[in-house]
């Protein structure tokens, strides 16, 4: 069954409808709410598979369905839906992961009072995400983009009774807004420059050769090509959403939300939206490569940001003690990888890593959730431990995810996708730094994942919370198993030997090539690094597991300064607090002063005037005008009394009067008409 692009709108429409209905369900209709959301998601998944099949039938073409939204003045604003392999793969991935996580959530939040509301929000998020993916117009994409932003805010703050959660939600919202401001500006500028926001529109779309040529040709301030400027502005949005370096600070805090939310939104799908956005508009980003003597290329910036983020995330992750924060920082670093891949010009590698990462990172988060749920919401890895024997399924699947993430060679998907990225970075002719950053991050990733696994599952329980942990119900374990299988299998459609996925994305047909020896040396190197990181992690944390939950971390013992710096996220938050927030506070004070004294004073004066006039007026009124009015109204009253005698209240009388009057009038009319 193939789903044509004409019916693509159904995929986002189903969860949207579920959210709409769910919003009106009573709180106690838990089963109904969950069933609604899950059913809609399952349907959407089926449809997405159909869409993918339809897209793969003709991978080379971009099938679009555009429609006019509204007219203003002479112009018409048009939106549209787009179906190509990129959209297809993303749709299937998102719907599948979302479906599994919905099912998982029924177990994780079984006892929560706002169960129904939770599923309503989840459906809303899914609707926004799917709309974002299927959009053929930057505006429609932006709508979905903001929708997921809002639902992410709602879901991070789902437990808004906890001040930390509320603060985190606000932080996430505001931080991403900063990025989205850039996005919006870029969007407006693009519309101003091209008069269209459609990606593909039979030759007039912004991603099509003719428009791109003109965009790259024009230069704006600082000799930047127009496409560069617009691209960078839109990239701001991606930076905010995908937690790239300057704006990554919200993502770790977002872990205050329920774990399924972290898994779905802040690991697998929403944060990847930035990567998807850049991949979607890749022709626009790459348009300036042709321009000679441009001061900077958009993609160079992307690559730099990506490299920095990858390294920084990995570094910070090594010193976190909160189970979910470690994973959050690793997400940041992996997203950095994807951005890096985009920057060095291999967007297919980026998407490949996005898909595999979505799978195993969702797996890791759900595993973490399973641990947390079992250990009565204990998230500090120092206070856990010894869960390997108590939660066998969770441990096995988590191990798979951990190996996939740290890129254990050949069997696990993470290895292949990361190889692709490093390979692309090696092939980049602008600079080698991204490659080195990536390689360093490889070792660090292996290190902190080993640390995490050893701390949580190794040794023996260090608190009775951990001691009493036990395996969770099937609704929570089965999704883990499915995702674990995915985390392994997914790797094999993107191996250098048979790059089926990449070639499909590019719209070519895959060939079984043995021409991957040129990457062998690099591969060997990265394998070595992985081994190094793993061994180091094992040596420090695994060999002799921590016994006391208050004992300092080995690294901390060795180099307390470094550890503290890393633990505080290299002081990003502190830096922002010292600069932007203080500035903000000053501005607020100034505004307050203005309000209180300057405007307030003016208003006070005006009000005084008004009062005085009012008093004067009243005197004039009472003395002069009223007398005349009294006389007049007295006359009216007497007249009324006289006429009201005719008003007997007898309905028949009125009716009779009407009838006779009618007869008389008609008679007059006839007589008047006859001569």
């Amino acid at each position: 069954m193939h789903l044509s692009v004409a019916h693509l709108w159904l995929i986002p429409a189903l969860p949207l409808a579920a959210a709409g209905v769910g919003a009106f369900l009573p709180r106690r209709a838990r089963a109904l709410a969950a069933g609604l959301a899950i059913g809609a998601m399952a349907l959407a998944f089926v449809l997405a598979c159909g869409a993918l099949a339809g897209a793969l039938a003709h991978p080379a073409e971009h099938a679009v369905a555009n429609f006019a939204w509204f007219d203003f003045g002479p112009a018409t604003l048009r939106l549209g839906w787009l179906l190509d392999p990129l959209t297809g793969f993303m749709l299937v991935m998102v719907t599948l992961v979302a479906l599994l996580i919905f099912i998982y959530s029924t177990g994780y939040l079984k006892t929560d009072a706002n169960f129904a509301r939770f599923f309503c929000f989840l459906s809303l998020f899914a609707a926004g995400m799917l709309g974002l993916l299927a959009a053929n117009s930057l505006l429609l994409l932006f709508v979905g983009w903001e929708l997921v932003g809002v639902s992410s805010y709602l879901l991070i703050g789902f437990w808004f009774q906890r001040p930390a959660a509320a603060a985190a939600a606000k932080k996430a919202f505001i931080t991403t807004r900063i990025g989205d401001l850039g996005f919006l500006l870029g969007l407006l500028w693009l519309y101003d420059a091209t008069g269209s926001l459609l990606f593909y529109d039979g030759g007039h779309g912004v991603l099509e050769a003719s428009v791109l040529g003109s965009l790259a040709a024009h230069a704006t301030m600082g000799g930047l090509a127009l496409s560069t400027a617009i691209g960078l502005l839109i990239f701001c949005g991606a930076v905010g959403k995908s937690g790239q370096f300057p704006l990554h600070v919200w993502l770790p805090d977002a872990m205050e939300g329920p774990t399924p939310v972290s898994a779905l939104i802040h690991a697998a799908t929403m944060v990847a939206a930035g990567v998807f956005l850049i991949a979607r508009i890749y022709p626009l980003m790459a348009a300036d490569l042709a321009v000679a003597g441009a001061p900077v290329h958009a993609l160079t910036v992307v690559a730099a940001i990506g490299a920095i983020t990858a390294l920084l995330g990995a570094l910070v992750a090594t010193a976190q003690t909160d189970l979910k924060r470690v994973l959050a920082y690793s997400t940041v670093s992996q997203l950095g990888y994807m951005m890096l891949a985009l920057g060095v010009g291999s967007w297919t590698a980026a998407i490949f890593h996005l898909l595999t990462h979505a799978c195993f990172k969702a797996l890791l988060f759900l595993g973490a959730g399973s641990v947390i749920h079992a250990a009565h919401h204990e998230q500090d890895i120092r206070r856990l431990g010894g869960l390997a024997g108590r939660q066998r399924v969770t441990f096995a699947t988590f191990a798979v995810g951990m190996m996939a993430l740290s890129g254990v060679p050949f069997l696990f998907s993470g290895f292949w996708s990361k190889e692709g990225i490093l390979h692309a970075a090696e092939g980049w002719d602008v600079s080698r730094l991204p490659l080195y950053a990536g390689l360093a991050a490889v070792a660090l990733t292996a290190f902190y994942m080993t640390r995490l696994t050893a701390e949580v599952f190794g040794g023996r329980p260090r608190t009775d919370a951990a001691a009493h942990a036990h395996e969770n119900s099937a609704v929570m374990t089965v999704p883990l198993v499915i995702l674990a299988i995915g985390a392994v299998v997914l790797g094999f459609w993107g191996t250098p030997a048979w790059p089926w996925l990449q070639s499909r994305l590019r719209g070519e047909s895959a060939v079984l090539g043995v021409s991957w020896w040129d990457g062998a040396a690099l591969m060997a190197l990265s394998v070595g690094l992985v081994a190094l990181g793993g061994v180091a992690g094992w040596a420090l944390y695994g060999r002799k597991a921590r016994t006391d939950c208050r004992a300092p971390d080995p690294v901390e013992a060795a180099a307390p300064r470094v550890y503290a710096a890393l633990a505080s996220g290299l002081g990003c938050d502190a830096f922002y607090a010292a600069t932007f927030l203080r500035l903000n506070r000053l501005a607020a004070a100034a505004a307050d002063f203005l309000e209180r004294w300057v405007w307030g004073g003016a208003i006070w004066v005006v009000a005084g005037l008004g009062r005085w006039v009012g008093r004067a007026d009243r005197r004039a009124d009472e003395a002069g005008l009223n007398a005349g009015f009294n006389a007049a109204s007295a006359g009216l009253r007497s007249a009324g009394r006289r006429y009201s005698r005719a008003q007997t209240g007898d309905a028949h009388g009125y009716l009779r009067a009407m009838a006779i009057a009618f007869a008389v009038l008609a008679l007059l009319g006839i007589l008047g008409g006859s001569h």
Partner: protein, 171 residues
């Protein structure tokens, strides 16, 4: 065909007249219903099937029921149902007014040279009606729907009253 028309007219008028002259309320109501059916027959004769059936459905099916319910709910004993004209004077006045109106109308009708459109019976299919209603007259249709809804609510409120009386379902 005029014969049929005259027949229908006479029957309708007769039943209506008798209805409004009978002392017994119930008989009046039933006879009025008969005259309504006569009007439906006229519509049928004129080839307006739909209206004819609508007339029967609405008046004979619904309004009649409301009337009968109203009659039965507003009486205490059978004696209440025998209500003649209030007074000879009023009756005379009524006849006078009605006669005047009738005279004027009749004069107007007869005086004006009317030409009946030639050609066979004109008729409109339900499909045409529906398209007409939902096309050019959609707004009016909505308005009527609103009016009916409000009328229903108002009627229920009025009839239910402050003291919760057994509230009859309105068609």
């Amino acid at each position: 065909m005029n014969l049929a028309l005259v027949l229908i007219a006479l029957l309708t008028l007769a039943s209506a007249g008798v209805a409004l002259a009978r002392p017994n309320l119930i008989h009046s109501a039933l006879l009025l219903i008969a005259s309504w059916m006569g009007i439906a027959a006229f519509y049928l004769w004129a080839g307006a099937e739909f209206i004819a059936f609508a007339q029967v459905l609405v008046y004979v099916g619904a309004v009649s029921m409301v009337v009968l319910f109203a009659v039965l709910l507003t009486r205490r004993s059978r004696a209440d149902l025998a209500v003649g004209p209030a007074s000879a004077g009023r009756a005379a006045g009524a006849l006078l007014a009605g006669g005047a109106v009738l005279a004027v109308l009749a004069h107007a009708v007869i005086a004006t040279p009317l030409t009946a459109a030639p050609g066979g019976p004109r008729s409109v299919t339900v499909r045409e009606l529906g398209l007409e209603l939902l096309g050019p007259h959609a707004a009016a249709l909505l308005a009527v729907g609103l009016i009916l809804t409000l009328a229903l609510l108002g009627a229920v409120l009025l009839a239910a009253g402050e003291r919760r009386e057994p509230e009859e379902p309105r068609p």
